[in-house]
Symmetry: D2
Subunit: 333 residues, 4 copies
């Protein structure tokens, strides 16, 4: 993420959180932002469509279609649940591609953004490692490829700090040479809320924009730049210490309200501040002490491996008809 010290926005890459911030409980009422949610056995699916520029401004996200899968129990290392999430993700992803008019033979390039050597930023490279790659068979012996597969390639382009080249430029170069019909870009995100970290998957048809994701990105990976659709898949893996604190103030306020009724001066001087003023204050207080770090749960190694497997399994099933959602987990390691 490009860290802008004058940026006192809520610092979320999730449309879901941006809408909550903008709309509160009655979020449906934001013009140009449509959404629906449902639960399916422990998985909460929310679809948000930002249909107008007005809606985009209101919640601070570019227009497009967003799907979020929230699975709080993912932290419990339940392999049955993981299989169910992979299957659900595969189904939602396949439907998402269909809605975008992307057919079953479209050639796909999967891009794993992020840095191998920084665990919470390694989601993209980890997914790429488990993608079932087939493009070279179509190139080298097209008549021998079994039906039910499409050409899929997969690259982890590294990050600016370790390559010296914008990953956007590397992706452009690879797209021009390998000519896919669709780019799927996987990236680790920042969330507002510690409990969404490693438990939430977002799919969006908006591509990757500068300032989203947790690595250093200055140029986007978008349809406008690449000339082909870009579907982004993101998982929040980190959260700013300051947003943890700020969210805690909210929770405390609500807690006291429920318990004691809406008295004045629940949190004293803090009650008089706007959300953004309060967040600015938290950062002013924390920054001199070096407090305002991006943090991640202690168990990040296991979490990120689990969710990378879920996404890779889901993509392998969604992209290749021959891989059913029953055997979806068999192709990753």
């Amino acid at each position: 993420m490009d860290i802008d010290l004058n940026d006192f926005s809520p610092r979320t890459d999730l449309a879901l959180e941006a809408r909550e911030l903008a709309g509160g409980a009655n979020a449906q009422a934001i013009p140009g932002v449509e959404s629906e949610s449902y639960n399916d056995a422990g998985i909460r699916i929310t679809k948000i469509d930002i249909t107008t520029e007005e809606g985009a401004r209101a919640i601070g996200k570019v227009p497009g279609h967003y799907i979020t899968l929230e699975v709080p129990a993912l932290r419990n290392k339940d392999s049955d649940l993981q299989d169910r999430v992979a299957t659900k993700f595969a189904k939602e992803f396949a439907a998402f591609l269909e809605k975008l008019g992307i057919g079953p033979n479209a050639k796909v390039l999967v891009i794993g953004l992020g840095n191998w050597n920084v665990t919470p930023d390694a989601l993209g490279p980890l997914v790429v490692e488990n993608i079932m790659v087939t493009r070279h068979y179509f190139e080298l012996m097209p008549d021998q490829v079994s039906p039910g597969y499409r050409p899929v390639s997969a690259v982890a382009p590294g990050v600016l700090g370790t390559t010296g080249i914008e990953s956007s430029e590397i992706v452009q170069g690879i797209v021009e040479k390998s000519r896919p019909d669709l780019v799927i870009a996987i990236d680790a995100l920042a969330s507002r809320s510690l409990d969404r970290v490693n438990t939430t998957i977002q799919i969006a048809d908006t591509g990757i924009h500068p300032g989203s994701g947790i690595g250093n990105k200055r140029k986007g990976i978008t349809k406008q730049i690449l000339g082909i659709p870009v579907v982004a898949i993101g998982v929040p893996t980190v959260v700013y210490a300051s947003t943890i604190i700020n969210s805690a103030f909210d929770l405390m306020h609500k807690h006291f309200e429920q318990q004691k009724g809406n008295t004045t001066q629940i949190l004293g001087l803090l009650d008089n501040l706007q959300e953004n003023e309060r967040l600015q204050l938290v950062r002013e207080v924390l920054n001199p002490l070096g407090h305002d770090l991006l943090v991640t749960p202690k168990e990040i190694d296991q979490f990120i491996e689990d969710i990378a497997n879920i996404i890779a399994s889901g993509l392998n099933s969604a992209l290749h008809e021959a891989i059913s959602t029953d055997n979806v987990a068999a192709y990753t390691h």
Copy 2:
């Protein structure tokens, strides 16, 4: 760490923080707790001696000698500073052994506690990997060992969850067979304060006690159990989300006090609570949401590798006279 859901203590493994909590600014006044501090070019050294049971109860740490090196700038990836910290650590550690009456030929077993596969808990195994091991030369060809070395062995015993055996028991078994004169136990710790994470090293002659460190430890690694002195080296690598929030309340309170004078109701209802009551409240509010995780900075992979190298370099120099503090970094990789 053994997580006790009824434990509303401040959750710090650092004597330094425990003393701050107990004594505030005038910490020197706690009976049975002596301390002194000084700065040396960006490194702050604090020595705390807990000399009585009364002092131990007052700050919640067992009696003994504690040395803390605080180096806030360690986060900046400055390799010159890292070398200086390794040299300083070596010097303090050598003096610490001397004060304990442990001579230059004492046989040493270095124990790296923690879990390879959980990055913030991997400090111990990472240090062990870079220890210059010599015991086998003394056993197999004692007359061919150059002067200036002593017998050093090093083991990473794993954690209960992956071995099924208490690391305390494994260490006891190894001590009984290999007969060292001293055990040095390295462990990752939990801190109260995010800015001490990965920037602070604690040395103590108290051994490792149940409930310290971030792994699962039910039995101690102490002189009482092993029959030989145990020096513990710890680095905080994680912090509870709840203590981040609680510390933020403190900082906010002080911030408003300074700016606006000591008015009533700075933080509303929170002002009326004792520290421990407030922390309990924070946890009650956070726990249902799964918020109260142990968190670690996003850059933990690099941080932990750097500080493991500092400790291993420092130990190699402090334990082997032939390795001077000038070439201290040359023996690690």
Copy 3:
């Protein structure tokens, strides 16, 4: 492996190869050595019992029971075959334990010998990482453990060069503290034949003897030393360059014999040498050039991961009745 420069033995850790060397085609005829073989869908099982000291001397292996599974096709990365081998291994291993009189509730300690950082020597640690460990549940909450499990613990004790302590001593210490009824020791072996590398698994009730395995071992891990049975599981992962060459001479000789009849002077001067003389000659020729290395196939990373998973899956199934051979692969990662 302890490398003895005056050792011109055939350098194999496999009883199967030792018997071949001693007995050639009519191996059955060696007194005190009984064996039988059969094939099961691509897996060749050979059982060798060395029943007398005479037999032991004849083939250079200690008396005991040996089972070998040879699966040449394991190199083809066929996951169905891998599952079948795991299931077959589990069945043979369970029967082996039963024959030794080790019951379903016997407490088991799995020891993974070898060095994490040397890929062809990492078999033991890799297996240990995937063992389903249960001992701590039996210790901490014995009444809550489901039926069908037994107490299993697992430790990778490291190697002499990185710990400074004989792994035999570490194992003794752990056995004395944790009191298992049986030790299962996993180790990487050296083979005579490149085609057995990573395709063969040996089970033996003889324990681990000095000079077997590819690491540095000076002391054994045996019933005599530990006081409890020790079952060894080994997989050849390396072969000496000199034995590759020597085996090639044999193959060439046989090739010419078949093609041209038993003429004199097929391989000139080499024909006049005994096997051991010829091997000595090969080493004399190669050694000055530093040729006589232990080598391993280029694909060792993948091979060793696959075979470690097979062994871990098989052991989990063989040791816990609740884990059937149908779901044997589900407990490893």
Copy 4:
């Protein structure tokens, strides 16, 4: 390497070995092939210039300039020697660039060919990880870059089997977007001789050609394709089992000749065969048994890390004037 089953060539990627094979002792006599050698304290440097197509055909390598550093003692883990080799390599590499007319400000893209997950093929990615990357500073804040540096970028493009895209195409795409003046391509090679594995570095101005290196490459990375010079750096990390055996026949033959004079029938029927006929025979004999693998020394993990550090250190010093050959090792980890 593209494995051609009808390819009975000597399978070496080293010009040095190709010339030996073609010319024997009096190699200087091959028309169109010039060479000179000298020793420098344990490092043997050989420069071979293939100046004509005739010379190229004679030794089976494309025309160009080749420099080889042979350091047999590199296997001994001597860190002083490693530093000397890095310094020597830096010097030779800088002179090589100068001779090619590539100036100190030329923009450089370093390409690390090969596969992270196959240790003997991981040389390229490991070097890239330790390259001092600066291009982004020149792009983002050109006026703040200290003198003595040039724009350097570095990418590991993966291998066809894991990306589905020829690495040649990926490199082309990146070159077109990032516009370097020079590509330096690092690759693991196959050697004829086990004693050159991990002890030899080859520099060549010929680029990377199909069939060289140990990965799967079907398209070249050459000046012709990229439009800019390509300097290749290669280290042999593997050798075919069949070439080990074939070389052993040669050594045996010479050994007997020296000892017993040039008698007839030293190696019987083998003496009557041409080198290529004999190699074909060795493969015929070995192949049915799956013997003819590419093999690598057991200690490959350590060897490849050491030599990757030497190359990265050398390149950092050769490419950035501000990094002297004295501090050459300080920039890698």
